[in-house]
Amino acid sequence: MKYFLKLGFVLLLITVIASGILAFVNDLTKDRISENKEVAQKEARAKLFLQPVSFEENIINLPAKEQEINPLKKFEEPDSLEFVYYVGYNESGELDGYDESDELVGYCFMDSLYGYSSEVKTMVAVGLDFNVLKIDVIDQLETPGLGAKADTPDFEERFIGKNLSQMKVKKDGGKIKAITGATITSRTVTQSIAEGLKKLKKALGREAE
């Protein structure tokens, strides 16, 4: 009896020490990790436009039923979901940031959907006509060598100039060529861009276009 208590105690001790160390490391690193993510997103946004652009952040609440909800996460259906989009202005003025002389050049948003094995996050820039200017897959953990190719410029270029009605993979009757061996990932990226475009149009009150 005493022996078994000792076993439990040793295991408890080791787990407590390990989780203590992990909690400490997590505390030490979590600020830097979220900071890194923010910097990466800022850089990703800036790279999407040809000219230097300053962004104005807009947050809008859309009713939840407009959103494609991940079937794996059905239990947490909220009434409304936040949609963040950025309005891009040409930096012509003297001042840093937005001023009156700046010209509206387009919109930028980020959307994500669950792909084959991970959440795929895509940053999208669209012009005033809602045609895609450029996209950047910024976060994914898809299969290396197959789905992970969504991250390459070769795939990202396939979206340039496409509009909402073309935003489907060729198999589903759209204009986007899927990655060989990774149709699910290609479909995910395409779908998340289409969803995001719909949300953006709704947020701007221009659904008819």
Partner: protein, 198 residues
């Protein structure tokens, strides 16, 4: 004890993938390109060396009956620490290796070496064993990865090695999952054959 032998045995004689058939899951999963193979191999080598060291240090404190859960806790904590600190301080390396780090926890080479070697040996041999086994694992991954990438994409480490006509329509099966099984099986058989001839 021959320290040099502890280090070099992982390369061919006791190669974790081809001879011991350990860690096959990551071997099959990440060898679709040489770059991924090197990334996974080096990340696993690092964790294997460190976990071997820690386990050989605490081996006398752990009762025999619960050694496996204890090893798993040590390995998993270690992997998480590497993951978090790499994410915070070297985000560019984390971006290319980050994919493989969580996979290391379930890599049975690490638990296998902890159980078979580090829990019975002193610090220095355990360190060398971990390093050698890790490099042997890397070697095996790079070998499989090279064959798969050359056949399946016509590239090696992203460089063109086959004529353009081949790259346009490569032997795609090599880069897909069945190709991994076929190529690994053939290599394993080949190595068995060579060893038998000796």
């Amino acid at each position: 004890m021959n320290l040099r032998k502890e280090f070099t045995k992982g390369f061919v004689k006791e190669n974790p993938v081809f001879i011991m058939a350990l860690g096959l899951c990551p071997t099959l999963a990440v060898t679709s390109s040489v770059e991924n193979a090197i990334g996974m191999g080096l990340a696993a080598t690092f964790v294997l060396t460190c976990s071997n060291m820690i386990i050989s240090l605490i081996k006398n404190l752990i009762p025999d009956k619960i050694r496996i859960p204890c090893f798993i806790i040590v390995i998993a904590s270690f992997v998480t620490i590497v993951d978090l600190s790499m994410n915070a301080y070297k985000p560019e390396i984390h971006k290319s290796l980050g994919l493989f780090i969580p996979l290391i926890v379930v890599n049975c080479i690490i638990l296998g070496r902890a159980e078979a070697f580090a829990s019975k040996n002193k610090l220095l041999p355990s360190l060398l064993d971990g390093l050698g086994m890790g490099l042997g694992f890397t070697l095996a991954l790079v070998l499989i990865g090279s064959i798969r990438e050359i056949l399946g994409a016509g590239l090696w480490l992203g460089m063109k090695v086959m004529p353009d006509a081949y790259i346009d329509s490569p032997m795609l099966v090599a880069i897909l999952a069945p190709g991994a099984f076929i190529i690994m099986g053939l290599l394993m058989g080949l190595i068995k054959l060579v060893n038998k001839g000796k």
